[in-house]
């Protein structure tokens, strides 16, 4: 191989062969551009692993995707808006193309937003996509949380991801509020004014905090630039970082799947990313983008030009935050004014603090800790990769819907004035309805939900034991009537019996065998009480023995009555036969 040269040492290499091994393992396997990249990054292995990763298929698994895509769309459109938006409270006189504002003194932030809306090509469109995508981002987060909560997908090993998700949800609405406040129109300025008031209600440090946030008394000139930094830099960075961890954990822990034939706790039944989900999820991004663009093209959102520039003296009727902050605003509308206490020359605004300062963190802390509460009750240390049907966890489903009801009452309360004019009702009556409803409706919803779940479980049992009611009434030659029940297909039956039976935890004796009190007894008592609350009236799936017994005496002629009556019937039948003999 080697060329003969004049150098003497070359003689020693006579007969050597050139290296036989290929340049790299990657280059041989995939070649081309991919090989080139793999040689330099070693990406082939992890990418190949991801491409082959199998995900289960269900439409509700795409709710989180809606949130993810909405966020990406917000990032893209937001970058466009930053090209023209001027985050400054410096004063300027508008002389753009929107006549009803011409010659009006306003901040540069507001002026540039109106400029984007009317004088930048596609500016209004992009602004509206950005805002609609922001609203849909939070909507999708909420329904995604519903899916995860009601199917028990937050159970071990996914508690961390649930907590990350809760933080993401909280950050999303803070990010939304910061964005809502930026244009410095009459509505967003009112929002900032309200926020300043809320901060001021914090005991002792309130005024110091406001001075810190606003760089002086309200409104000052600092708040818009500061919110801008938070809105385009700080919060998005944290959002994207946490989101990466969120989705990384999904890949690491595998996606949960709904129960079904062949689906176990140890496998994932579905399709690989490449090519199925690459096409489906990739296509769904464009569907989401398309729907949001359609909404933005057809429906106006946040018409800043109509609100006019912010000025601390006017407030418009119908001043509401965007929907995701509505629950806090609603709480403020419901809190009675007499809760404001003045003592020793100090004011404690208990009419504001619970709604303005405590509610927001409280809601997200309650959401975040729920998996740990449930684990405390069940003492369940196993991993769960199979989802639960909401009916099979009646108390959890009830708690979730009761919480959602309380939240919804508060959210609707923030629209009490709009409801009053549109429904022709009195705002006072509506406020009282919501005040009472906040306390009364959640327990009712809990009870009804739990009962509905238990009934559905009983129906599932009936269906397994006696098959599906066919509606066909058959008359026997001797004049008896019965309804023919059609046997369930095994794969249908499986869905109805696959879940685990549950029972309240047995309380351990409070003293050990020597009569000494156990240190953990008190904790166990609480646990046992909670466990009774969760599982005391649980309806458990049909056991194989029960199924065999039902099939044994049922045959083809199940009586309309319940099983025990069927048993009596059978014995009566036997007596009859004996008598005839």
């Amino acid at each position: 191989m080697t060329e003969p040269t004049d150098r003497p040492a070359d003689a020693l290499r006579e007969g050597d062969s050139a290296p036989q091994a290929p340049a790299s393992a990657g280059a041989r396997k995939i070649g081309g551009l991919a090989g080139w990249v793999d040689d330099r990054t070693g990406a082939a292995k992890p990418v190949g692993y991801l491409m082959k990763k199998v995900f289960p298929d269900h439409w509700s698994f795409m709710l989180g995707e809606i949130a993810m895509y909405s966020m990406i769309i917000c990032l893209i459109t937001g970058a466009f808006l930053t090209f023209w938006f001027v985050p400054s409270m410096g004063e300027t006189v508008y002389d753009g193309s929107y006549v009803p504002l011409r010659g009006v003194l306003m901040s540069e932030a507001y002026s540039s937003t109106v400029h984007i809306s009317f004088d930048i090509k596609g500016g209004l469109m992009i602004r509206q996509i950005h805002h609609w995508a922001a609203l849909m981002f939070v909507v999708a987060i909420v329904v995604h949380m519903f899916r995860v909560f009601f199917t028990g997908a937050f159970r071990k090993p996914r508690e961390i991801n649930w907590v990350i998700g809760s933080v993401l949800a909280l950050l999303a609405i803070i990010e939304g509020f910061a964005g809502y406040s930026l244009p410095d129109d009459l509505l967003s300025g009112t929002g900032i004014r309200a926020m300043a008031g809320f901060v001021q209600t914090s005991p002792v440090i309130g005024t110091y905090l406001v001075y810190g946030i606003f760089g002086g008394p309200f409104p000052g000139e600092a708040i818009i630039p500061r919110l801008y930094s938070a809105h385009v830099l700080l919060i998005p960075a944290i959002l994207v970082g946490l989101f990466t961890a969120h989705i990384g954990l999904v890949a690491l822990q595998k996606h949960t799947q709904f129960p079904g034939p062949g689906r176990t706790n140890d496998n994932v039944v579905g399709y690989p990313v490449m090519p199925v989900y690459a096409a489906k999820a990739g296509g769904f991004f464009f569907i989401v983008f398309g729907v949001l663009t359609l909404m933005a093209a057809l429906v106006q959102i946040n018409p800043v030009w109509a609100y006019g520039p912010y000025d601390p003296s006017p407030v418009t009727a119908g001043s509401q935050p965007d929907w995701y902050m509505g629950f806090a605003d609603g709480a403020l509308r419901l809190l009675p004014g007499f809760l404001e206490i003045t003592a020793f020359g100090y004011t404690l605004s208990l009419n504001i603090i619970p709604g303005a300062l405590l509610l927001l963190p409280l809601v997200y802390v309650v959401i975040g800790v729920y998996p740990f509460v449930e684990r405390f009750v069940t003492k369940d240390e196993r991993e769960h990769h199979l989802l639960q049907r909401p009916r099979n966890a009646p108390v959890r489903t009830g708690i979730g819907l009761a919480g959602a009801t309380a939240y919804t009452v508060l959210m609707f309360a923030s629209a009490n004035d709009i409801m009053a004019i549109k429904l022709g009702m009195s705002i006072n009556d509506l406020t009282w309805f919501f005040r009472i409803g906040f306390f009364v409706l959640p327990p009712i919803v809990f009870w009804v939900t739990k009962r509905v779940c238990l009934s559905l479980q009983r129906r599932d049992r009936e269906q397994v034991l006696h098959g599906r009611e066919s509606g066909t009434i058959i008359r026997t030659p001797d004049g008896r009537f019965f309804e023919r029940h059609e046997a369930e297909l095994p794969q249908e039956q499986w869905l109805l019996v696959q879940h685990e039976p549950v029972a309240p935890l047995e309380i351990e004796p409070e003293t050990d065998e020597h009569g000494v009190a156990r240190p953990a007894a008190r904790k166990d008592r609480i646990r046992a009480a909670l466990s009774r609350f969760y599982f005391a009236d649980a309806v458990n799936p049909v056991t194989p023995a029960e199924l065999a017994a039902a099939q044994h005496h049922g045959h083809e002629t199940e009586a309309i009555d319940a099983p025990r009556h069927a048993g009596e019937l059978e014995s009566a039948e036997a007596a009859e036969t004996a008598g005839r003999r």
Partner: protein, 270 residues
């Protein structure tokens, strides 16, 4: 027909039937709905205090008293109608000209009505009668309410400071206490806007000429006319009611469509 029969169990069949049913119901209703009866009014040849008094006695006195002195109901402090001396012809023109008076029934608030019960001449006659009782604001002349002579930008500023807190930023209206409300200002004539400002009907305060100068009143009218005529930039306005209707739209239509797409995509075999 066979194709139709084959599709009758399609998952979308119920939705399609429902839409057809709703559409047909709406169409049939629109076709056969009774036209509102035309108020046949006698055109009075001349406006005069006497004619106005006669009209007043026939149509208004049951609540406002035979001499417009007001009338209590006898039930606590409730009044059937307030005394009208000093409210001026502008108040009569506003209340009757917008169909608020005569009220069809007692209520928290008289609402605007498309069916105005009196002709312009009759309204003017009643206004002349009321104005004869005591001096009060007169009906503004055409120039005072001409939107083309006003500055909409200045009017917008006056509007946001003085009007928006009840009537909303776009004049869409807003709620007041106990079922009362600030009505929508969309498609209200400039004359009626002006009259409302000078007379302060129902819960509204009076904005006299010291509060808002006649020029600024005209500017407000110019602003309202401008936003009335403006082709909503950016699409449907959802009633210009602020973030509540936007949130409702996002939940109902945004989420509805996207979940529909997700279900459709999820049902597609790989």
């Amino acid at each position: 027909m066979n194709a139709l029969a084959a599709r009758r169990r399609h998952p979308a069949a119920i939705a399609v039937l429902l839409m057809i049913g709703l559409f047909l119901t709406g169409a049939v209703y629109a076709a056969v709905a009774p036209e509102p009866a035309d108020a046949t009014s006698l055109a009075l040849p001349a406006q005069s205090v006497e004619e106005g008094k006669a009209l007043f006695r026939a149509n208004c006195a049951s609540c406002h008293g035979l001499n417009a002195q007001g009338r209590p109901t006898g039930n606590g402090n409730q009044i059937a109608g307030p005394p009208l001396a000093g409210v001026g012809a502008a108040a009569v023109d506003f209340q009757v000209g917008t169909g608020r008076m005569p009220m069809t029934q007692p209520g928290v608030q008289a609402s605007r009505s498309e069916s105005v019960k009196f002709s312009d001449e009759e309204i003017a006659a009643m206004g002349a009668y009321i104005a004869s009782l005591a001096p009060g604001p007169a009906v503004p002349d055409a120039e005072a309410v001409d939107p083309t002579k006003g500055d909409p930008a200045r009017g917008g500023q006056i509007f946001r400071v003085n009007c928006a807190m009840c009537h909303n930023f776009a004049g869409s209206g807003g709620a007041l206490t106990r079922g009362k409300y600030a009505p929508s200002l969309r498609d209200v004539t400039g004359k009626h806007v002006y009259e409302a400002m000078v007379t302060g009907p129902q819960s509204m305060p009076v904005f006299n000429n010291a509060n808002i100068t006649p020029e600024d009143k005209r500017n407000v009218i110019a602003f309202l006319t401008t936003i009335d005529q403006e082709k909503a930039p950016g699409g449907m306005t959802l009633g210009s009611l602020g973030p509540v209707t936007e949130g409702l739209f996002a939940w109902v239509f945004g989420l509805g469509i996207l979940v529909g797409c997700a279900v459709w995509l999820g049902s597609k075999a790989a």
